[in-house]
């Protein structure tokens, strides 16, 4: 509880200079009893940036998101800065748009009412929120599905509803935890291109977890590779590929050489988890 971090005080500037990162994590660690999930994560995200995170399974990616969304407090000694202010994780509740690994749609709400859930919680006018959601449906490929219930939707559609819900919660920072993990390859490619369009239009900052290196490069301004558990940032690479990005980008030499480098780093880490024990 008593963490050595500066609590948001009136002494600090309320305004964030343009070059100030929206999210700044230093020496961020998290221990669950015996298990150390994160060990000294350092990362910064600039406003408007699209940062992708890849890493072996169980390295603490979701834990990182749970902290940044305010659900879990990091260990003492961790520094968590948001919009230029040092904060406790719990102060981030309600301040970032979090999309968990599963869609978690509510079975008794139709598409529109699932999408407006965060606005309802904020106390927004329901009729206005519904009208807004209705206008956003086509953009999310859900035109004509307003009154459908989750059990009537395909996996890809459910994921789009969950994404729409995340976008309707208008916060500058979006945390997307493997949003396309459960989709087939074709749907996935479509969704990636679509997400880039939506992101460019809405001008949000995105932190995006994935298992797929192609996806990480195709989407990101910056790709972070995490180490095996306890997780830390092993490698950070800027993706210098022009936007808007087209599908044939994945065969370009720059793409392939970056992919090679990232895959090597991930494989090295995966070996630590699954390879022969060599202490």
């Amino acid at each position: 509880m008593n963490m050595p971090m500066t609590y948001p005080s009136t002494m600090e500037p309320a305004m964030t200079p343009a070059d100030e990162p929206i999210l700044d994590l230093r020496k961020l660690s998290k221990t669950f009893g015996e298990v150390q999930a994160l060990d000294g994560v350092d990362l910064t995200v600039q406003p408007g940036e699209f940062v992708t995170v890849v890493g072996p399974s169980g390295c603490g990616k979701s834990t990182l998101f749970n902290i940044v969304s305010g659900l879990e407090e990091p260990d003492n000694g961790s520094v968590l800065r948001f919009e230029g202010q040092s904060v406790h994780a719990k102060h981030l509740l309600g301040r970032v748009s979090f999309m968990p690994q599963r869609d978690l749609l509510l079975a008794w709400r139709n598409v529109i009412d699932n999408a407006i859930l965060p606005l309802e919680i904020e106390g927004a006018n329901k009729a206005e929120a519904r009208a807004e959601a209705q206008r956003m449906l086509p953009e999310f490929g859900l035109a004509g599905f307003a009154d459908k219930y989750p059990h009537e939707l395909s996996g890809g559609m459910r994921q789009r509803v969950a994404l729409m819900r995340t976008f309707m919660f208008k916060r500058d920072l979006l945390l997307l935890d493997e949003p396309f993990g459960a989709l087939d390859a074709l749907t996935r490619t479509m969704m990636q291109r679509w997400l880039l369009e939506v992101w460019q239009k809405h001008k949000r900052t995105v932190l995006f977890i994935t298992h797929d290196v192609d996806e990480a490069i195709f989407l990101g301004d910056k790709v972070l590779v995490m180490t095996a558990r306890p997780g830390a940032i092993k490698l950070a690479r800027t993706v210098d590929l022009p936007r808007p990005r087209s599908a044939d980008l994945v065969t370009s030499p720059e793409f392939i050489s970056l992919k090679r480098e990232l895959l090597d780093a991930i494989e090295e880490e995966s070996m630590k988890t699954f390879g022969p024990a060599s202490h």
Binding site: L93, P100, L104, L106, E122, F169
Partner: protein
């Protein structure tokens, strides 16, 4: 596919009605063929005739019993759901409430009836209390199973939107538990009437149980059967109404 104007539940209803009619036909035939005395088995026609002649008494008794059962049912339902909610919101209570409730329920409720009659008298309150005791346990178990189905990840999602505990309760926990709460309510309908009637037989100023008890004393078995028929019609009606509400409210499954 051939067009079928009846839904599966209508089919079930049709089969039920057919089965009932067949049973009545065999019953009537047996009673007449073997010329059974009415204290063993009166003919169905005799019982139905009694419906008419004793309609005032039976109608009043049915209303009396249904009133008690309904009051106890609602009270017990509210208590059961409230306890399950308390256990859900304050997990430390689980270790206290669950064993206590199980201990109370391990004895058939009817065993408590002498005490309850002593404490609450022969009037309607003792019946309402008995029904409430019987229903609250079933409802506690159903509602608790319902609340336990709430996905912690959904709770976290709502917290990340800045939801208060009350908002999470109202928008997530209650709707998640609703299907099991309502199926508990459906199962409790029949139980509530049985307990009301049995308690009336042990001491009351009115109701179907009281009518049965009085009829046994004067050896009027047609009256006993007429009251039993009325009780089962009331029971079926109560069950049907709650089933209908359940299907309406839990539309998403």
């Amino acid at each position: 596919m051939t067009y079928d104007p009846m839904s599966p539940s209508q089919h079930a209803l049709a089969r039920g009605v057919f089965g009932g009619l067949a049973l009545f036909a065999i019953w009537e035939l047996a009673a007449r063929l073997f010329d059974l005395p009415s204290y063993i088995l009166p003919a169905v026609s005799e019982i139905i005739a009694r419906f008419w002649t004793a309609r005032a008494v039976l109608g009043e008794a049915a209303a009396y019993t249904l009133g008690e059962a309904l009051a106890g049912y609602l009270l017990g339902g509210a208590i059961g759901v409230a306890l399950a909610l308390a256990v859900t919101l304050v997990p430390q209570l689980r270790k206290v409430i669950v064993p206590a409730a199980t201990a109370v329920n391990s004895v058939p409720v009817v065993a408590f009836s002498p005490l309850i009659l002593l404490w609450f008298g022969m009037g309607v309150s003792s019946k309402i209390v008995m029904v409430a005791v019987a229903v609250s346990f079933t409802m506690f178990v159903s509602a608790l199973a319902g609340f336990d189905r709430v996905d912690e990840r959904s709770v976290n999602l709502m917290r990340s939107f800045g939801a208060s505990r009350a908002a999470i309760l109202w928008k997530l926990r209650l709707p998640t538990a609703l299907p099991l709460i309502l199926s508990g309510m459906r199962l409790s309908t029949v139980r509530s009437l049985i307990v009301a009637i049995v308690t009336e037989m042990l001491g009351a100023y009115g109701g179907l149980g009281w009518v049965i008890y009085q009829a046994v004393i004067v050896i009027d078995f047609v009256q006993v059967w007429a009251a039993i028929f009325v009780a089962s019609i009331a029971s079926l009606g109560f069950f049907a109404v709650v089933s209908f509400l359940e299907r309406r409210l839990v539309f998403w499954r």
